[in-house]
Assembly symmetry: none
Homo-oligomer: 200 residues x 4
DNA sequence: TATGAATGAGTCTTCATTCAT
DNA sequence: TATGAATGAAGACTCATTCAT
């Protein structure tokens, strides 16, 4: 077996186990059993348990980042809505292929050593910052209301995480990804209330 | 020392440690060192490590549930907005007092045995269901738009979680709780976009 | 409660537990729960766990020794057989009253620290020595055959222990004590074989 | 070191310790120290302390059973006495090689969890049953007297146990195995008394 | 005398990691 | 590269014993 292939095989096994049982409950024994390799072989490809988890996390985060395109407005571009939908959809699709890793990301299948939590936090911080930049841009273009963009970005990311999490929990029963994305975008855009309704 | 007091002292130490280091990285040795008691004493008050964590989790969940009042509409009532703000504020306040427990709830300072994750999940499910009921009610009253209440509830809870999480991470630098609550409610109500704006 | 009475109450509880569950599986907690006293109270009456077990063992051994009468031959005496039967019977009776202690003696409900085994061993050694003396006497009187009295004594004691052990295991279903004693004595006296039979 | 060899080495160490100090007083630390291995290595070969003890017990019991041949009468056979002697001798020899295990068997170096005592009891029950069958056969052949075979079997086994136990205690000073076996068989056969002697 | 909260040494067991083959 | 036996630090939990009240 080619070395790259073997590495992938181990990563694959680990991803599934970490996603299912969490980091701590997954032992090296579990991983090597699932990968069908010997104990020592594992350490030929990864420095330690922490390293393989970290690599998986990185892989996922990079995958997400790579799939997101900045929204660009212009006559020759798809509409902003289309672009945003495309972004959401791309992420959802990636995660649906790597279901086990999603759990790590969302449930923080962690509780691990401080370092990991920081890494996760910084990833979300990036996502939030990206959304916030878009909102600020929207504001200058008078598309986005005059609101606290930081808070708004947090809420947007949080809302999407929760939807993804729910879809993960539901598995096959989850609603169609595209429809979900459209609904979410609509609610984020226009809010929950009937236009002109007064709740104050 | 009074027995109830000793229990509280141990719970206190454990909460802080679990919140900071997570469940797995917190050992009984850590807890008793922080609480300043002997090893055996711990087991006088708690059956095992799992039990004290569970008690902490329950305590927090019950605290939150106890602080939330159902929104009631009527001439003699505060406005719906006031009531919702009061709810959000009450929860935020509780959590700011029990900062360490908040981490458990939000970061799922967990990755623990399956049981705990289920417990957490069921708690959130309750919260989501509660919000969804409110949204459905609002719909019949023509306050809430015609939208998928499940998705909307998920988003509302997710958005609030993320705001809380951010406030936790920021510590003292976090914005004022009341102001946050108002902004969040406004964004949820009216959405991100300028009224009448077209992004499609 | 009178101090002697309280002591007896604790001994009683301990005897039953040691006999049933063995020395190691019986905890101080078990004993005080059964005796209905507080933890500290136990140590008011006994120095430690070892001490109460030792006392129980001593009590039993002394009881047995006290009940055995040396066989004396003479015109004005009951027959030797009667005297031996009386001895066996006395022991059986004592043990049937203190069933739980019997288990300690026979099963060596022990496996404990070396000291106890030595104590048990020395008790049996005494019993064997006593029997051996009787056999030697019998030999000089031409009642007992010309055999190795040490081996014979060992066998007699071993045979009786096994019968008692069996009676203990059987509980209520065990045969009548007197009948058992008679049969045992008969077999010891005349052996298993038909007189004159040749197995060689 | 070959895997089987390592296992044997651990069993060896454990047997000696269990035999000397008893089950409870023997810790895993004792065993690994004596075997000269690391803590984890022990658990590579045995599931837990109980498992290694059980294996030792089984090994011994099976060894004994395997060495015993049913007594068969017939012209072409060695005499019954020879066969019985051979049985006794075979057992004694096995036990003299595995001195430490003998202690477990005889002193019930136990006092352990109920399960073990039951195992021991059932082993002895088998032995007794085997002897009883032989006695019944002897009765039909008019070799054995008209006596309660159950009681007689108990006595025979008890007598032999005690002799073995004594030999164990004495160590090197114990009489020669063959001579012991002959004496025991003689006493069992013909009893203690001079033929025709009246003790009644 | 009586109590029972507190103690801490000691036990079993797990598991990430190493290293000789 | 691949193996898997060996390692030992670290963890959870027990329980006989003490001592202030």
């Amino acid at each position: 077996m080619e070395p790259g292939e073997r590495r992938a095989q181990i990563l694959e096994a680990a991803a599934e186990l970490f996603g299912t049982k969490g980091y701590h409950s997954t032992s090296i024994s579990d991983i090597i059993a699932k990968a069908g390799i010997a104990r020592g072989t594992f350490y030929l490809y990864f420095e330690n348990k922490r390293a393989i988890f970290e690599e998986l996390l990185d892989q996922l985060m990079k995958g997400i980042v790579a799939r997101i395109r900045r929204v660009v407005l212009g006559a020759s571009q798809p509409s902003a809505k289309e672009q945003m939908l495309a972004n959401i959809h791309a992420v959802v699709e990636l995660l649906s292929q790597r279901r086990s890793l999603l759990a790590i990301l969302l449930e923080g299948a962690v509780g691990l050593d401080v370092g990991f939590n920081e890494k996760l936090a910084s990833f979300y911080e990036q996502a939030i910052a990206m959304v916030e930049r878009s909102l600020r841009l929207g504001k200058t273009m008078h598309l986005v209301r005059d609101l606290d963009t930081r808070v708004a970005a947090l809420m947007a990311v949080g809302a999407l995480k929760e939807i993804l999490h729910d879809a993960l929990r539901r598995g096959e029963e989850a609603p169609d990804a595209r429809m979900l994305a459209e609904q979410a975008l609509d609610i984020l855009s226009r809010g929950l209330l009937v236009e002109g309704a007064q709740v104050s």
